[in-house]
């Protein structure tokens, strides 16, 4: 179908104003948070009813036109990167909170509602929506479901998948399905889990029911500084061994500390090699008991110093440094590249050491911010896109870090998704049969492959071309063959 014909077909579905076809009008959507990748779509549509989305899917399915969903575009793996021959489905107009059900502690929202808007809407009832990605003022709940987003509190409260109940999903063929239920579980396969984190490849999420939790009565944060990253890593293990699950347990390394301190003056000790932020929440008595236990652990973990925030103001200041870590690092360098690997925590010190070695090898600095409690590393690679070849160097450095994570028994992505960015690293993490199984799951939902094609799961051909002959868990493929 030619562009003009496609516009005509869309005009039967949508008002003229909801179809963008010029370069200028589509420019704002040419990339997501991973701005190194840019692509204009053929067309952008802004529907405002589910029926319109159903009709758009039907049309795309019939004509085999790629369809890419977009929430707020804060994704960091190029998941919402448009397809040059496809339609970008912008969900910005789906921004209504549909109903608040206090007795059942749930909220039904449209997918374009911002994450933070949900907690704001129910704050008056003493409830909140727990997953809190750092991008929560901007990112949408639809994007959160599509990425299975986490936040600094997911060690205790879980990821998106643990905090949603029901989805309404428009399938590639236009059919509207309800997945999950308003109850705690639903009949049949756990399709809710399968949809969560599926990066817009299995269906268009058009409604989400999320679970709410009672707001913690009290929150306290402890800041501890160490002269050695390994000591900080051991303190993390010891806190958990003491039977405590902190609401948040974050670590920053020296460069991240210095950048944050210069930016927000949070009071971080500049001589430290690592700091830990340990947040404890719950009811009053629980917080007191756990804070005492954490103090006891820290006394024995040889810190340079540690302190509990004495006021709400100081608590916010301690957090301000961590929360501003990305922009703070951004001030050190024209560009930075944010990685998202996970590792078993026991390998933290060794992995950080290896990252430092890689940093020297690639001649690029790196600052590490780390969701230490759940082993999710965010190395920030500093580079300058205006220097020829530096972006490529940064990407190679990043790829090495992800390989390192897989070797340590971890994953190439903890919460940012594969998108287009980590598509090649998928060949490291998964073997051919597994990738083929993913494609077959995709075909069960979207036989024509129109939804977000080319993302999240690499073709077997692509992996073969990469020459990444995959060594899976130490087993060589074709062990029967002799090797030289």
């Amino acid at each position: 179908m030619k562009k003009m014909q496609l516009i005509a077909a869309l005009q039967a579905i949508l008002p003229e104003s909801a179809i963008l076809s010029s370069k200028e009008s589509q420019k704002p959507f040419e990339c997501d948070g991973l701005s190194a990748y840019r692509q204009l779509p053929l067309l952008t549509v802004l529907p405002d009813t589910i029926e319109q989305i159903q009709a758009i899917c039907k049309l795309c399915n019939q004509q085999q036109i790629p369809l890419v969903a977009r929430g707020a575009g804060t994704g960091l793996s190029g998941g919402a990167l448009p397809h040059e021959e496809g339609i970008l489905l912008n969900l910005a107009k789906f921004n209504q909170i549909l109903s608040i059900d206090i007795p059942n502690r749930s909220v039904r929202v449209q997918p374009g509602v911002r994450n933070l808007a949900i907690s704001e809407a129910v704050a008056q009832y003493g409830l909140y929506y727990a997953p809190d990605p750092s991008s929560q003022i901007a990112c949408t709940i639809g994007g959160n479901v599509a990425e299975n987003s986490g936040g600094v509190h997911c060690l205790k409260y879980g990821l998106t998948v643990h905090n949603i109940l029901e989805l309404k999903v428009v399938m590639a063929d236009g059919e509207l399905l309800t997945i999950g239920s308003q109850a705690y579980d639903s009949a049949g396969f756990d399709l809710l889990a399968l949809m969560t984190g599926s990066e817009g490849l299995l269906g268009i999420i058009v409604e989400v029911t999320v679970k709410l939790l009672p707001k913690p009565e009290r929150t306290q944060v402890i800041l501890a500084a160490f002269d050695d990253v390994a000591k900080a890593g051991r303190a993390v293990a010891d806190i958990i061994a003491a039977g405590i699950i902190p609401a948040g347990l974050e670590m920053m390394d020296k460069l991240a500390i210095q950048a944050a301190e210069a930016f927000v003056h949070a009071g971080y000790p500049l001589e430290a090699e690592a700091i830990l932020l340990c947040e404890i929440d719950g009811n009053n008595e629980e917080v007191s008991e756990h804070i005492m236990k954490v103090h006891h652990v820290l006394e024995n973990s040889d810190p340079i110093s540690f302190a509990t925030a004495e006021s709400e103001q100081q608590r916010n200041l301690f957090w301000a440094g961590r929360k501003a870590a990305f922009p703070a690092v951004g001030r050190l360098s024209p560009d930075y590249y944010c990685m998202d690997g996970t590792i078993p925590k026991q390998h933290l010190a060794a992995v950080l050491q290896e990252i430092q070695r890689l940093s020297r090898h690639h001649e690029l600095a790196v600052a590490n911010v780390f969701h230490a409690g759940d082993g999710n590393l965010h190395p920030l690679i500093l580079y300058d896109a205006n220097n020829a070849g530096e972006l490529v160097k940064a990407e190679h450095f990043g790829a090495d870090i992800l390989k390192l994570c897989v070797q340590a028994g971890g994953s190439i992505t903890g919460e940012h998704g594969v998108g287009i960015e980590k598509i090649d690293q998928m060949c490291n993490q998964f073997a051919t049969d597994e990738l083929a199984q993913f494609h077959s799951v995709k075909a069960a939902f979207d036989p024509q492959g129109i939804l977000n094609p080319g993302k999240a799961v690499p073709t077997l051909h692509r992996c073969a071309e990469l020459g990444a002959m995959h060594v899976h868990h130490g087993e060589l493929p074709h062990p029967e063959l002799e090797r030289f």
């Binding site: 059900d101 643990h162 008991e289 998704g417």
Partner: protein
Amino acid sequence: MADISKTIQQQILTAVETQQPVNLRGGNTKSFLYHAKPGETLSLQAHQGIVNYQPTELVVTAYAGTKLNDLQSTLAEHNQRLPFDPPHFGDDATLGGAIATGLSGSIRPFTGSARDYVLGCRIINGKGQIMQFGGQVMKNVAGYDVSRLMVGAMGSLGVLLEISLKVLPIPASECYLSQSRDTQDALRMMQTLAAQNLPLSGLAYDGKAVHIRLAGAEAAVRAARQKLGGEHHKADVFWTLVNEQQHRFFDGEIPLWRVSVPPATVNLPISGKQLVDWAGGLRWVKTDESAEKIFTLAARHHGHAQLFRTAKLTEIRRQPLNSGLKRLHQQLKQSFDPHGIFNRGQLYPEF
């Protein structure tokens, strides 16, 4: 400890070749849950042992045939546990069976369900391919979440070989209270309590009293006990009896239904007896009413029903799926088990 995955794989390949369906079996303690169709029994019991357990990682990986009892006592040595109260229904219950049935106990509304704690698994699909999904780390969004898809699938998508789970510390203290209430008051009280900042790990109603289980930091449990009041019980007898379905309520031959509904749902208007768990979200119903009537009732209340125990041979035990969802289920079944050899009829009669 024994890894017999290669033997199992060979059995699957033979089953495919001979078009011989297989029925997967763990401890066979949950066989009352389904009406199995003919097939060769493939026992996973010998495939047992803990593969990896680092308490400070909060992750355990074990072969699927590992007995729940063994797994739980190993965790307990390190003051940790499976945080979803899996019911055992017998000493032989296995990890694979618990995950394949996907059942969770009374703690479910507070700390989550079996699927919430699954991080990764190794499976054999219906083509005899051994595959690994998810991982041994807490956060992992690479690829579709096939691991959680396996939970509650009743073995219809593949053989679970190895499972990685997130575990949590055993709470420092527990306390058991009860307060007499009529049904309406009881349901209302559960909603009020669940919306507060209390260290809850169970809220159930047996027709006479609301039972409250508290778990958490010592000071928190003590304060909550003082605040809530009511009769104090020394041991968790009620909770164990409910979890293992040995409470008096479960006696007798009348069919037992499991009805899952939004927690604030009214008392279900149906003849027979009811026991409420999950802070209102789970209604055990003993009734002779027709399946059709119960499915309709559950759907009207935005939930779903399952015939959990029955003396009669009955094929249709689970809330029927609408046509769109049924098609999707069939396509997924086809994707994982194209020859239809696994656990025929155990989840739905159609496959």
